[in-house]
Symmetry: C2
Subunit: 394 residues, 2 copies
Amino acid sequence: MSIYEKPFEKAEHAKRVADVRRRMRAAGFDLILCQDPANMCWLTGFNGWSFYVPQCVLVHVDEEWPLWFGRAQDAKCAQVTTDLPDRNIVPFSERLVQHKTEHPYDELVGLVQSRGWAKARIGVEMDAHYYTARCHAHLTKGLPNARFANNGDLVNWARLVKSPAELKLMREAGKICSAAMNRAIEKMRPGVPQNQVVAEIYHAQTVGVPGSGGDYAAICPLMPVGEGTSTPHLTWSDAPLPGNALTMLEIAGSRRGYHAPLTRTIHLGKPPPGIQDVAKAVVEGVDAGLAAARPGNTAEHVEAVWQAVLRRNGLKKESRVGYSVGLAYPPDWGERTVSLRPGDQTVLQAGMCFHIQAGVWLKEWGVAISESFAVTDSGGDRFCDVARELIVIA
Amino acid sequence: MSIYEKPFEKAEHAKRVADVRRRMRAAGFDLILCQDPANMCWLTGFNGWSFYVPQCVLVHVDEEWPLWFGRAQDAKCAQVTTDLPDRNIVPFSERLVQHKTEHPYDELVGLVQSRGWAKARIGVEMDAHYYTARCHAHLTKGLPNARFANNGDLVNWARLVKSPAELKLMREAGKICSAAMNRAIEKMRPGVPQNQVVAEIYHAQTVGVPGSGGDYAAICPLMPVGEGTSTPHLTWSDAPLPGNALTMLEIAGSRRGYHAPLTRTIHLGKPPPGIQDVAKAVVEGVDAGLAAARPGNTAEHVEAVWQAVLRRNGLKKESRVGYSVGLAYPPDWGERTVSLRPGDQTVLQAGMCFHIQAGVWLKEWGVAISESFAVTDSGGDRFCDVARELIVIA
């Protein structure tokens, strides 16, 4: 038995790299450096929890295969998880890890020079989470004759339309997410400590569903309770769930790193008057958005039809109602490309995937009921299947 | 019931900030910006999964309290989790999130200017995981009269010696880690899918132990199997555990973000000859290291005594045998300060905490049996309590 089953064929990676090289030519780059772990994985298959040290994938317009550059102890992980030829796997010296004056990217400079790319037009991911100011400083200092520019998340944009193999994983992620959400709802009762509910979510996310084991999600389960629902990123405590409170649950299923996120709103105890009507309007708005999520329509159009439904129900809109999703690593499951918001004129294509994070806030309470979906010819096709309503636990 | 129970008294944060301001004066900084989420939390108490967008804590030498700067929707989280006065909580505009040309740090520039700090000597965390090249570019461009320098992880160094309240959380994290490790060992049997074991670990990490619920760990459970043990950061699959293989398990318990990591080596089936002797030598080496982990000894001395035990047993050393641990957020639970390795002459003090990640690799297999501990007058005091031997599951 192999120690690692690759989720994609070598040919699929080759196609992705070819597409990226076309985009590089159009954008005027000879070489791009990708430190976003999702970009590294999408290009080469590289997969491991090593993104806490500097590492990257290099794509050159004239080279068939990318180069992997990373810590020596992770080179084996690159051999196991990618189809790269051994000569394209380039480790840096262990002693450079957390060194005060030297840096792993000093050796990356040497690699770029050794390939004859010291005067290249190099595109870097200026705002990728792990591309630190120090990475950039060592790189630009070491390559004074190169022309550096922000590559504008070129690979993130290339990831936007998913392949059939990717869509299969997204659907499996949706099933995992549904199972975890339903398990959480089953477990949530007044008096149950919050962390007990979150423990069940982690368990269900990881076990997955028959035939599809789960992977770690890019964001921990978020479950604000009561007043906490007004601050979305507060994490759980070990306090018991109250007998009368609003809670929101935002989680994702992850299958081979592909994420399908979902939000549901749960009321413990008798819900306040009016909240059911708002929940209905939110679901109606999501349905309108899903119907509009067809090839040829724009991202901002999806937001506009959602907003129109809210307006008709006398409700207040939010300006960004969703974002592109797919392959992701901590700390975020968004792809940092398309937003479903006014001004985003990206034209939708079949195979794009989004999280429509539909929420409405009134003075005292709010309702969020979201969906993850793929754009298809007949509209947005949902990945998850969880009750689409305000969930009341009396 | 309050929605958030703060883990520390206001006075403890005041003491930490005062210490940091002393260090800033000594290092010649007027102002430091801290984007490392652990530094943000340690200084102010701020705690939420919001580190995927630019945010930071500002400390000025002449100001009693730091400033929190972050996304508008996370300002409430700052109000709830910190004791900062409202005027010290400064949100940036939502529209700047993932904006192509503008950046949240353009508004940070405005904040620094409005306080009269535009010509300050500003120390930034050049290599903190989320301080991207673009954060730095917008900041330095917007403040051309400031003098920028790397602050050399000044706050990480200030975090090195833990207070009694922090040590209490570290000990609770150790108990959580022990429970999760024992649960995993109980669950590991030939034929059990890897992800089922990991699901139990997540569950146990989150449930915690009576009186101490668990929080998310900064690294997912790492459980390399068979040949995978030679690449430490490969994550789990849904393949069944084999009947005859080496596995290693590296996990942490996290209590209010404080981490106690632990590694154990498990052999499924009859272990190869000699491995028990190596396991004994590793534990003996750790014991020697623990005995040496007393105030006044250096970090490199701890490594040297560990190494001497290995040498006496005819085994090969590794050069870095451990690192400082404490408060941490994804993607890493190390503090990026002291390493137990040759050349690190940091003098140990009571209250420092380390993970002695003791491992030995032979040609065909290896053994890693680690401990997390606090430096005390009588040596390293372990946080966890799990069988200290090669664990054989026949």
